[in-house]
Assembly symmetry: C2
Homo-oligomer: 379 residues x 2
């Protein structure tokens, strides 16, 4: 029988561990310390992973891969899914990793990683099932790696996704000391007839904007250039920005996790398709991403005065002398996720989202057009 034992996670040294000379011949092993550290890391991770596991995860001792039982509750599954479609995506967090290193703050970047993936997944109408990570480092240092992993675990729990597996690769020759990279991968499921479909968007639909928590995970090369250019200090507090938090803390605010509230809204209207389209606002900004939810017969007209962007955007714009257009292309400017909804349901959906803790604004409407997003400012 398949038993309830620690799940698959590999933190093998792969071809990555440093070779060193011993006596006359070459040996592969890195120092004993590093192997011990690796083992300690793996066992810490396993308890962390288990906390994200519901009854659908099958734990297999020594497993080469993670296992997720799709219809653990067969009746429930059959009621919800007649024609299940798996939805999957892969994403990283870009050079936000560099800022985390520079600020020496690693407890939020894992949240970013999960959010970048899961927020993409739910755009297709999916509910998240599970997540896997890839972490590549110069050398396995349990302390800050565990900080990253804790963030990943927390964000998985908050998104109702099981952390099913992952890979930690120690590659001293690819990554400089202190450098690392993160990639994530998530899988969800949606009933075919309920999958997002841009042809459903109609003139008259309302665009709801869900507030972002600051920069999220895009634009960090520009952010770092502004810091250099203006001589800003990550460890300093700037009153104009946030008197309580350092610049580093503000910039590293993790990407908001929209999965739970968005999935809840969709479950709330089982029969009627009240959500016509969605968009996760990442690189390319609001216009660049919302346009992906449109078909060629409609435009979205966005009123930029309908919401207020957090101080961090103005702060960066002033210090970097960045023009408005560039800001809107690079950053989310305060809106992290959009839902295009039927006008008669707009206020009830907004209420539901607000009950889940989202800050929601009606930011625009759909009109006949040619698949474009038009940014306007009232008055």
């Amino acid at each position: 029988m398949l038993s309830a034992m620690p799940p698959a996670r590999e933190a093998k040294e792969k071809s990555g561990t440093k070779s060193r000379r011993s006596g006359d011949g070459l040996t592969y092993a890195s120092s004993g310390v590093s192997i011990e550290q690796g083992d300690r890391f793996v066992s810490m991770i396993q308890s962390l992973m288990r906390r994200t596991h519901g009854q659908r995860v099958i734990n297999i001792p020594g497993g080469f891969a993670g296992m997720f039982r799709l219809d653990y509750n067969e009746k429930l599954f059959k009621r919800n899914y007649r024609d299940p479609v798996l939805v999957a995506c892969a994403d990283g967090v870009g050079t936000k990793v560099k800022l985390a290193s520079a600020a020496g703050k690693f407890d939020t970047i894992g949240i970013d990683l999960v959010a970048m993936n899961v927020n993409d997944l739910i755009v297709q109408g999916a509910e998240p099932l599970f997540f896997l990570d890839y972490i590549a480092v110069h050398s396995v240092d349990p302390e800050w790696l565990m900080e990253i992993m804790k963030g990943i675990g927390e964000a998985c729990s908050q998104s109702d996704a099981a952390l099913l597996g992952g890979e930690t690769a120690e590659m001293p020759d690819v990554y400089a000391e202190g450098e690392f990279d993160l990639a994530g991968f998530s899988v969800g499921v949606v009933e075919l007839s309920r999958a997002m479909d841009s042809t459903r968007v109609e003139a008259g639909d309302v665009v709801l904007g869900l507030a972002s928590d600051g920069l999220h995970s895009n634009g960090f090369s520009l952010v770092r250039a502004v810091i250099d250019h203006a001589g800003l200090d990550l460890s300093q507090r700037y009153d104009e920005l946030d008197p309580q938090r350092t610049l580093g803390e503000v910039l590293l605010t993790p990407t908001r996790l929209y999965a739970r509230p968005v999935v809840k809204v969709q479950r709330g209207y089982k029969v009627k398709k009240v959500v016509a389209g969605m968009a996760h606002i990442t690189g390319g900004g609001l216009a660049g991403n919302l346009s992906r939810a449109l078909h060629e017969g409609v435009d979205a007209v966005i009123d930029q005065s309908a919401w207020e962007a957090a101080p961090v955007f103005g702060f960066l714009q002033r210090h970097g002398k960045i023009d408005d257009e560039e800001m809107g292309r690079v950053f989310n400017m305060g809106i992290g996720y959009c839902m295009i909804v039927r006008p008669t349901f707009a206020s009830s959906i907004r209420e539901k989202l607000e009950k889940s803790g989202e800050r929601v604004s009606v930011i625009g409407e759909i009109v006949k057009g040619s698949g474009r997003v038009k940014m306007k400012r009232r008055g």
Copy 2:
């Protein structure tokens, strides 16, 4: 309706694109050339991805994630799956990426990436469904990136896995010029009652070894140390190794894809469970990985004289003066995949595998024991 349009692939610059000064203010954009290159790359990739897509992939214009219809052929699916379990894993190729860069040869490393993942997946009894990649580079150079992607696409096709999506991240500040890293993620499905389960292994079972194609994707830090130590030249041919191919070509021989033959064997014995356990031989070697397929009541006794390792292993051992034990811990030593099978079916399974093009040896047997792999040499 969901239409047959290019699928989701993001090659966004993310926060990764270089910022540069323009006039008085900062702008985010990298040079126009790079953006054009990125676009060209994405469109090349999309046709490459489509070639791996069967009817189960739902193509969505502008999609934020890839979509895979689990029961496209509902009847067939229902016949095969009463309680489907999703199997997923994440893996990279370690520092084999460094050797690919050094040799300037990029057409095989993508095959390694798919193989490292899919070979893990099938150990659990799964048939592969789809694959996603993460490629992180200093800068998007379509020529060699396309070589990598072609390898990924080919290997997906050969493993009957759809290349469902991926992410190309341009991060000049994390990766030095010419450096890159690869991560892969794959998902498969197995019927719960047919999932691999180590408790099934019994004394008397036979261990079949499927030949590897050289080093596969483990031990490359040691390989590179040997090259440095012995002053070897990647572009040279060594008669003792292979008179036809350069050292670089031999070392970069891609990891063998075991998915198709292994899945075929399992489909061939629908009723009887003739395969008791399997192992993909990666870092840790044959003993380290085969032990993961055992429970605590059995040992595997391996006869190391039952097969011959390719010349590359002896070549590296001599030039690096590496001892036998170390060789066996780091490298696959000629066996890339193991199947523990019922003795009465061993020869018919072996025949089936050989018909699929595998070189198969009976390399050992299961005896009562304590979960260990014992390496012996006959005579």
